[in-house]
């Protein structure tokens, strides 16, 4: 980590070691530059929210953090992103291991067309976390409990996951991500397809999950960002305009553009 980067990230001094860091990250889709020179720290056991108008690059940045952009043709990432001070884009890094440590929940609930049980057990089986049936049963129960879904589905674990309601499906996807016991959970607009009640349920859940996981959430709802996150980053046209404590960003933004966005003048 060079001195310039240190200077550009004053908030790093607030805590001793951020969970993930991004330094001078550029992302290209073919010839188009989608993200320009992003520097961001993600603190452990905090919720960091990424806000900004559509197409500003916040989802792109999120997908850089567990290298989900690798599966997109023509996508190129430059700069350094670290997890526990280890570069996740260095050659020889096992993407599978990375994604086991940095899980992800998507905008649209995407349970596999399998039973509820198998949806949760998929990750642990994949990584050999649980060999015995009883261990797997425990993991399924703990994950579903943490995701606040256990009471609703404990009697029908063998029913297809696709048969649940939208909000339940999203909590199933969160449980699925928790089941591999990741360190960081990335959430890409996890509530945008849900009704207000299900949204409230998930927001509550995010707050509980903060005890054990580091969470990065992309959201279109500024109220949601204000409710669930401790730190907020505002993206605009591929630039990281401003990042600070959530309360400060919403009450006393430093940048004109941030001010304009949060007061609803554009975006």
């Amino acid at each position: 980590m060079d001195a310039v980067a240190e200077a550009e990230a004053p908030q790093r001094a607030l805590r001793n070691s951020p969970k993930m860091t991004a330094r001078q990250v550029d992302v290209y889709y073919g010839e188009t530059k989608a993200l320009k020179n992003i520097d961001l720290d993600i603190e452990e056991n905090q919720v960091t929210s990424l806000i900004g108008p559509s197409g500003c690059g916040k989802s792109t940045f999120l997908r850089c953090l567990n290298r989900m952009n690798d599966v997109i043709d023509g996508c190129r990432v430059e700069g350094d992103i670290t997890l526990d001070d280890v570069d996740i884009y260095r050659s020889g890094l096992d993407v599978v291991q990375l994604r086991a440590r940095v899980g992800m929940v998507f905008q649209k609930p995407n349970p596999f067309p399998k039973s509820i049980y198998d949806n949760i057990a998929y990750g642990p089986r994949l990584h050999g976390i649980a060999e015995a049936k009883s261990d797997l049963d425990d993991i399924v129960e703990i994950s579903l409990t943490k995701a606040g879904l256990w009471k609703e589905v404990k009697d029908r674990l063998q029913a297809p996951g696709t048969g649940l309601s939208g909000g339940q499906q999203q909590r199933l996807c969160i449980a699925r991500a928790i089941a591999v016991n990741p360190e960081v959970i990335l959430m890409d607009e996890p509530c945008s397809a849900l009704d207000p009640i299900a949204t409230a349920r998930i927001e509550e859940l995010i707050d509980e999950l903060r005890q054990n996981f580091t969470i990065v959430i992309v959201t279109h709802s500024m109220q949601q960002a204000a409710r669930v996150s401790q730190k907020t980053a505002f993206f605009h046209l591929g630039d990281l305009v401003e990042v600070s404590e959530t309360e400060q960003l919403f009450t006393n933004p430093r940048d004109q553009r941030t001010q304009g966005y949060i007061t609803g003048r554009f975006g």
Binding site: V71, V96, R99, M104, N110, F112, P113, L126, H127, V180
Partner: protein, 460 residues
């Protein structure tokens, strides 16, 4: 007048009606189309439909009924002693009269009575034809003027036109369904005639197939054995061999195309595989008979096996190649249809590409893949040409793929090729075979469609 010319005239008349109606509607509204209930085009269509449909319907009815009426008039004009002839002799005579009337060769001496009957028949047909033209045109013009008069700004032309169009569509689909029913019924009745000569249990469970029966009492021929088991066993074996070839090759190429191939490669490989489906089966047939079968025989002989020059293996392998595109192309489409979000979900949990394919994409696409396999299988069961050319005609009941076997479709062809009498058990057996085959492929198709439907519900 030729009926095609008449149809053309009626269509021209309808299009004239279209412009009449449109213009009339415009002028009635005082060039303010918003005063009309519907847009002016609908008034045009309204007139065109009134002009075209009744006249064309009448014409169709006329073309169906007129020959029968003419024939009835012909019979009633014949002398009483001829009318009293048995039905088959009478129909022969009627054929001769019709042939004479249209100037074809007749099978008997032309006498005065025959000549006059033919002349009468010809004139009836001519009058009928002329009457049809006149009446159809008259109805067309009448419909046009009637509809044009009925146009008022308040006429709900759009609703009427749309209802008519939906009725036309219902008629079209009914025709398709009725055709299917007709095919099934014709098969069914001929098959019932067969089963009155040969008991059904002998047909379904008999182990010998030798359909040669004597045409006349003094002929030397086989007694005729109609056990269809060897045919179905042969069909089953060749289909099985074909699926053994097509399933692995088709599925692996589908997985490669949908998951691994770069888009450019896919754009080249997929159409090339689909070319396989466009090769005429006769070409596959001689490829099997002239290239694959001798190759199998030579290879078998070099290993000390006794291979007949026509073998189930040759036909099955080539048929398998033929149905590869059914498996690969459909499976590829189905796997491509698995939502991207499911792949993302698996990748985000740390699954590798092959794990994602094996554990998420393939199971999700499985119903569709099964559907494609069943479709390919019913295609293989119905295939004839390759088997005729490469597997032979001998109805052996054997489990050895190196021997010659025959299939249901091949036997149907050989039973019906050439001069046959259509009331012998030998010929009728073809219909019974066809019926059973139809039942089998229908069952497979129904299963395939159901499986595919269940698959569709999964992501909605």
């Amino acid at each position: 007048m030729n009926s095609f010319i008449l149809i053309a005239i009626l269509l021209v008349l309808s299009s004239i009606g279209y412009s009449f109606g449109q213009r009339r509607a415009r002028s009635l509204s005082g060039n303010q189309p918003s005063a009309l209930h519907s847009r002016p085009q609908y008034y045009g269509l309204y007139v065109a439909l009134w002009c075209g449909i009744p006249s064309l319907a009448l014409m169709a009815l006329w073309l169906i009924l007129e020959p029968q009426v003419a024939e009835w008039m012909l019979i009633s004009s014949l002398p009483a002693d001829i009318q009293a002839l048995p039905a088959d002799r009478l129909s022969l005579l009627l054929n001769d009269v019709k042939n004479l009337a249209s100037g074809n060769i007749v099978s008997r001496e032309v006498d005065a009575a025959l000549q006059s009957a033919a002349d009468g028949y010809a004139s009836v047909r001519q009058i009928g034809n002329a009457a049809m033209v006149v009446v159809a045109l008259a109805i067309g013009v009448l419909g046009l003027s009637f509809a044009r008069k009925r146009i008022t700004p308040g006429l709900r032309a759009r609703n009427l036109v749309e209802r008519t169009v939906s009725i036309v569509m219902i008629v079209a689909s009914t025709i398709a369904v009725l055709t299917t029913v007709g095919i099934v019924l014709s098969l069914l009745f001929e098959a019932l005639r067969f089963f009155s000569k040969v008991p059904w249990y002998e047909f379904l469970f008999g182990l010998t197939w030798s359909p040669q029966t004597a045409l006349r009492a003094d002929q030397v021929a086989g007694s005729g054995a109609f056990g269809a088991v060897p045919l179905f066993a042969g069909t089953l074996m060749i289909t099985f061999i074909a699926m053994c070839v097509a399933v692995p090759i088709g599925l692996f190429s589908a997985i490669y195309m949908s998951e691994y191939a770069p888009p450019k490669m896919r754009a080249i490989v997929k159409p090339m595989l689909e070319v396989l489906a466009g090769v005429p089966t006769v070409v596959y047939g001689f490829f099997a008979a002239l290239t694959v079968a001798p190759f199998i025989r030579r290879t078998g002989e070099s290993m000390g096996l006794d291979v007949s020059s026509e073998s189930a293996l040759a036909a099955g392998v080539v048929m398998g190649i033929m149905i590869i595109p059914f498996v690969s192309s459909l499976s590829d489409d189905v796997m491509n249809a698995v939502p991207r979000s499911l792949r993302d979900g698996a990748y985000a949990l740390g699954a590798t590409k092959s794990e994602t394919i094996k554990q998420v994409i393939f199971p999700a696409a499985l119903p569709g893949i099964v559907g494609s396999l069943l479709l390919a299988m019913s295609r293989a069961i119905g295939e004839t040409m390759i088997v005729v050319m490469a597997a032979g005609l001998a109805a052996n009941l054997t489990a050895d793929p190196l021997e010659a076997v025959t299939t249901v479709t091949v036997q149907i062809v050989t039973l019906l090729v050439g001069d046959q009498e259509f009331d012998s058990a030998k010929t009728l057996a073809a219909f019974a075979l066809g019926l059973v085959l139809f039942a089998i492929t229908l069952t497979l198709n129904v299963i395939a469609l159901n499986v595919v439907r269940r698959y569709r519900e999964k992501y909605d």
